[in-house]
């Protein structure tokens, strides 16, 4: 359904997308994980048609996505901004934004009522949106993107700054959209969201996809090893030097920053050896955590950074 090839976009000297390529099938829900500056929002903006001056091709349902403005009728966008009119009611907002698409006039109202039920805003449909909570506004923001039943839904961090209940509701909407045959790309910082919602996960950094697949596929990248996270008062270079000769099949240094380092170990018996080495070098260790392999450890291995960095 969506085929992106060698998409490249730069802002001056900064490369936001670096020969980015991706395929997406009908009904597939792709979670795009990446730290700030990874290029997620740039990708969504280009696919939305609001950012130009790029190279590469984007084909959607066999046609150039940007060749025909009417193709936009098949795209649904949920931006990070709460982009609707606060002074209007939820129903009026849906009617206006839905009206910008080629939805038959008779269907818009019916569809708007259905969506308000779906996002649990039916009881307050006629109330000005300015009275809504943050979570309610996020749900409305999502509903606007779905009103015209798009074939491709793009969501840019749709769960930012909302309570758990609203987050669960929005993720449910995304899962349902995928189940109904809509291809979905959504960007997030939250690992748990993609773990529970997406049929495929892509990890991107510095404008490129580093790895993609199902959760199991990605975890296999780290293997069955445990992750040891060590915190203390040490410099990254000193820590790396201290564990250098331990590195091998049984111990792998995943990341090292000043005061925090992560290692993958195939056997927990390796941990005392590591600690012994650190004490020999007089490195002050304040805390040690042992974690099972997860998406977070995959992300850490691939990017060398925590997702919140």
């Amino acid at each position: 359904m969506l085929e992106i090839k060698n998409l490249t976009k730069s802002y001056g000297d900064v490369l936001a997308l670096d020969r980015f390529s991706l395929d997406l099938k009908k009904g597939e829900v792709l979670g795009l994980l990446g730290p700030n500056g990874a290029g997620k929002t740039t990708l969504i903006s280009i696919l939305s048609g609001t950012l130009g001056d790029f190279t590469g091709t984007v084909n959607f349902q066999g046609r150039n996505l940007f060749a025909d403005r009417e193709v936009k009728n098949r795209l649904g966008i949920v931006p990070q901004d709460m982009a609707f009119y606060d002074e209007l009611s939820a129903m009026d907002n849906l009617l206006f934004w839905g009206g910008l698409y080629d939805v038959p006039r008779a269907d818009i109202k019916k569809r708007a009522a259905e969506l308000l039920e779906l996002v649990e805003l039916a009881a307050r449909a006629k109330e000005p949106v300015k009275n809504f909570s943050g979570g309610m506004k996020r749900r409305l923001n999502t509903a606007i993107g779905l009103l015209h039943k798009p074939d491709l839904l793009l969501l840019d961090e749709p769960t930012v700054g909302i309570d758990v209940q609203a987050k669960v509701s929005i993720l449910e909407i995304i899962r349902n959209a995928g189940a109904a045959g809509t291809a979905v790309i959504f960007t997030t910082h939250q690992l748990a969201e993609v773990e529970t919602t997406c049929s495929r996960i892509a990890i991107m950094d510095r404008g490129r996809i580093l790895a993609q697949g199902t959760l199991d596929d990605l975890v296999r990248i780290v293997g069955e090893r445990d992750i040891v996270e060590i915190a203390g008062e040490f410099a990254a270079a000193v820590f790396s030097e201290a564990v250098k000769d331990l590195a091998g099949e049984r111990v792998e240094l995943l990341s090292a920053a000043d005061g925090l380092a992560s290692l993958a170990v195939s056997d927990t018996a390796e941990i005392p050896r590591i600690m012994d080495r650190l004490f020999q070098r007089r490195l002050a260790v304040a805390d040690i955590k042992i974690k099972s392999p997860s998406l977070e450890t995959v992300f850490l291995k691939l990017t060398g950074r925590n997702l919140r960095d």
Partner: protein
């Protein structure tokens, strides 16, 4: 076209759902007009001074003091003066408390001294806290003194006769001698009447009838002249505020979202300019209605005025379309818009009459919509078609729109 109408309708609906800003901007010119009109308009009807509070102390209680007191009792004087007869101690207390404008003290023997043609003095105590009312009393008493002095001198012989009769007790008053004395006085009055009546000099009231001149400049005329200037000034403020959406929607992501839909940039730009225009006309119409109802202002031919208002609104929408395409953000728009509108209003004649403006102001004013709208409104009020004003407003409005559209087109690429 469907999407153009959808955006236009949505803009109008939104503004009507949050009308506070529009209402405030519409109330300000009406309030300012009322204030200026009340202060500066000529009083033509029902605008009388309240009566002057006057205290009168009568130590004489004689014929002349009664005459003086009686002079305040005629209709004309009753409108001007509210007289309270009191004793001197109480009168002075009230004056110290500022309860009256002036106090006249009639001395003892006032009547007798007059009849004997002796010098006598009336005292006028004035309230220093009041500016001109005590002076009116003083002038009035002066006039009365002159009249009484004149009367006494004219009837000096009769007065002496009557004075002599007053020396005895009242029981022995020679009533039979009073008749001849009064008879002599009557003869003098009849003789005087022959001289004074008919009066040789009459007074005729007339107003100028010069060509085009109005017989009287009323408060209503002042409102009619002021309101168009105020209306165009606040039309600029209102349309500027409404069209600030162009920037705010860019900043809050709504423009980006709109551009992800099949809506074309030109449809959006057209709708934005059209909504500014439509709202401008609506605002002007409400101001016209309010001006007519509240101030009974005269606008002239309504059709002509509607065309003029539509032209001014078009100019305003085009100007602020361009303006918002050029400024970077809401703060810049807010910072620049108010000085520009105030400069338009100052040089264009919204703040002062063109006749009172320096020549340099008039020359600059030609470049403002205010000047052309006010000139056009004046012509419409006189029953003429404002052709030149329309030509200038529509012509320059089209130029502004032609500049605004490509500038806004660049702005919609988010």
């Amino acid at each position: 076209m469907r999407r153009f109408l959808l955006v236009l309708g949505n803009d109008v609906r939104r503004h009507l759902k949050s009308p506070v800003v529009i209402l405030i901007f519409m109330a300000i010119p009406l309030f300012m007009t009322a204030l200026i009109g009340i202060i500066f308009a000529p009083r033509t009807e029902g605008m009388e001074l309240s009566p002057i509070q006057l205290l009168l102390v009568d130590h004489d209680k004689g014929l002349a003091s009664k005459l003086l007191l009686g002079s305040f009792d005629v209709d004309q004087m009753k409108k001007m003066f509210q007289v309270t007869v009191t004793d001197e101690a109480e009168g002075r207390k009230r004056m110290e408390k500022g309860k009256a404008s002036a106090m006249i003290i009639v001395p003892e023997r006032f009547t007798l001294d007059l009849l004997e043609a002796k010098m006598t003095v009336l005292t006028v105590v004035k309230n220093p806290a009041e500016q001109f009312l005590p002076d009116i009393v003083e002038e009035f008493v002066n006039t009365m003194a002159v009249m009484l002095s004149g009367a006494v001198q004219a009837f000096a012989e009769e007065a002496r006769g009557i004075r002599a009769m007053l020396d005895g007790p009242i029981a022995s008053f020679p009533w039979d001698k009073l008749g001849p004395e009064l008879g002599k006085a009557q003869k003098k009055m009849v003789a005087a009447e022959k001289v004074l009546n008919p009066l040789l000099l009459g007074l005729k009231e007339e107003e100028t009838q010069a060509a085009g001149a109005k017989t009287r400049f009323t408060q209503r005329d002042l409102f009619s002249i002021m309101l168009p200037g105020m209306a165009i000034m606040f039309l600029l403020f209102i349309v500027q505020t409404l069209m600030r959406d162009i920037i705010s929607e860019r900043e809050d992501g709504k423009l980006r979202r709109m551009m992800t839909t099949p809506l074309r940039p030109m449809e959006l730009i057209g709708a934005r300019l059209a909504s500014g225009w439509v709202m401008g006309i609506a605002v002007l119409l409400v101001m016209v209605a309010a001006g007519s109802l509240i101030f009974r202002a005269q606008w002239g031919n309504f059709g002509y005025f509607l065309i003029l208002g539509a032209a001014a609104s078009f100019w305003t929408a085009a100007f602020f379309g361009l303006f918002h395409a050029l400024v970077r953000n809401r703060n810049q728009a807010g910072a620049f818009a108010a000085p520009i509108i105030l400069a338009f209003s100052l040089f264009g004649g919204s703040m002062m009459n063109a006749e009172a403006m320096p020549k340099a102001f008039l020359a600059v004013g030609v470049a403002t919509p205010n000047r052309w709208f006010i000139d056009g409104a004046t012509l419409v009020r006189e029953g003429k078609f404002p052709a030149l004003s329309l030509l200038v407003l529509v012509g320059s409005g089209l130029v502004l729109a032609a500049l605004a559209v490509p500038a806004l087109r660049r702005r919609t690429w988010v």
